[in-house]
Symmetry: C3
Subunit: 172 residues, 3 copies
Amino acid sequence: MAAVATQVEVASRDGPATKNKLTMVVFSGELDKLFAAFNIATGAAASGMDVTMFFTFWGLQAIKKSTRTGRSLMGRMLGWFLHDVEGVGPSKMNFGGAGRWMFKRMMRSRNVTPLRELRALAAELGVKMLACQMSMEVMEIDREGLIDMVQGVAGVAAMLEEAAQSKATLFI
Amino acid sequence: MAAVATQVEVASRDGPATKNKLTMVVFSGELDKLFAAFNIATGAAASGMDVTMFFTFWGLQAIKKSTRTGRSLMGRMLGWFLHDVEGVGPSKMNFGGAGRWMFKRMMRSRNVTPLRELRALAAELGVKMLACQMSMEVMEIDREGLIDMVQGVAGVAAMLEEAAQSKATLFI
Amino acid sequence: MAAVATQVEVASRDGPATKNKLTMVVFSGELDKLFAAFNIATGAAASGMDVTMFFTFWGLQAIKKSTRTGRSLMGRMLGWFLHDVEGVGPSKMNFGGAGRWMFKRMMRSRNVTPLRELRALAAELGVKMLACQMSMEVMEIDREGLIDMVQGVAGVAAMLEEAAQSKATLFI
């Protein structure tokens, strides 16, 4: 009993206690990095970990619908360059889109689950997907512009709370 | 009492105990990544976490003065390409500098705190900013070339000690 | 005794307990990022931490032999663009290879250990190097295409188990 009491005290003084949890800040929006992110997320969720993915900046492309975004002139210009999960290319050797095709083909020939299906699997496995509020405002992406699997719009404080409880936090 | 003693033993055998602390290795030097880094840092510090930022390689641009750096021919050549916090561009869609202007404008129109002010806020909130000694040597950046807010020049061992005590460590 | 029993229970319910350990997911394959990764790895190992590096995607270049890889037409095309540890260039200012030469020269003039030697030092210090199985399959890199220092081929589940026991996990 004394031991338990001590641990609770420690937890309150040192911030939240650690759970069997993984937090990922998904900043990048490239095919290969998103693929790594969703692979790690589904692997962790399948092995029983709580997983939270916090999508920010270019990472919002992973949870965007294919509809155009932006209200102001700037926002609409930016919107031309934002893709959805099917349209993002790799971080290396994109060759004006050829790289995207090549990577997808190589993955398919190795029976690797495509990104779109990995994302659906993540949602099924209970991976919590959060969208960064500030990035949405700066990039002029509304909640309606994001897929329904997204569980919420959150700020950096909410992400940090998840991170503080996690065994590991990755910035991708 | 027994419980406390056990915990101290565990801490000494397994390395330092965890504090309510966040460590960030800031390797990248782009506007969007630095913006994410300082946003996370100030958010964490505002919520009561200890925060240490260890700036290395391109990340040194975040804590550089605007003065030119480099002593050798190579170092001075490299110095032409290094910016300060006002001059760095985004990792995507820089379009020869137009992207920097566009991003800054979009951020301002959304009332987002500019990078330079975020950095000052971080210092005010007690975020510890350390510069990587080896990167400074390789890139020929002197202590005088860094802003006064930088609390020290440190090696990888010092960074790792901070990381080992942290709830989360991010490589950005 | 009561305290120890409580801690063991906590560990089993919340996943594996934390050791004095560092896990790195090495996704990137650029000279500067690999240099940072191996510097952190050797620094951590030298200070007594267990270190595991999990090489995935472009990071496989860090543990590739210089031999050409790929079986299918696509795989061989990709193989033309993959380098070994001597051939990788920096993430910025590569200038068609000139940047690689410049960086290596600046590092040498500062008596910085070259990447190839850092890697050997990591192995000597007991850093565990694992190759990502799925990346090897997609990129058509065989076990024989990797250097002997690599201790094993592993999946994301094995990497996550290491991460869950670690003080810090970095995605580089």
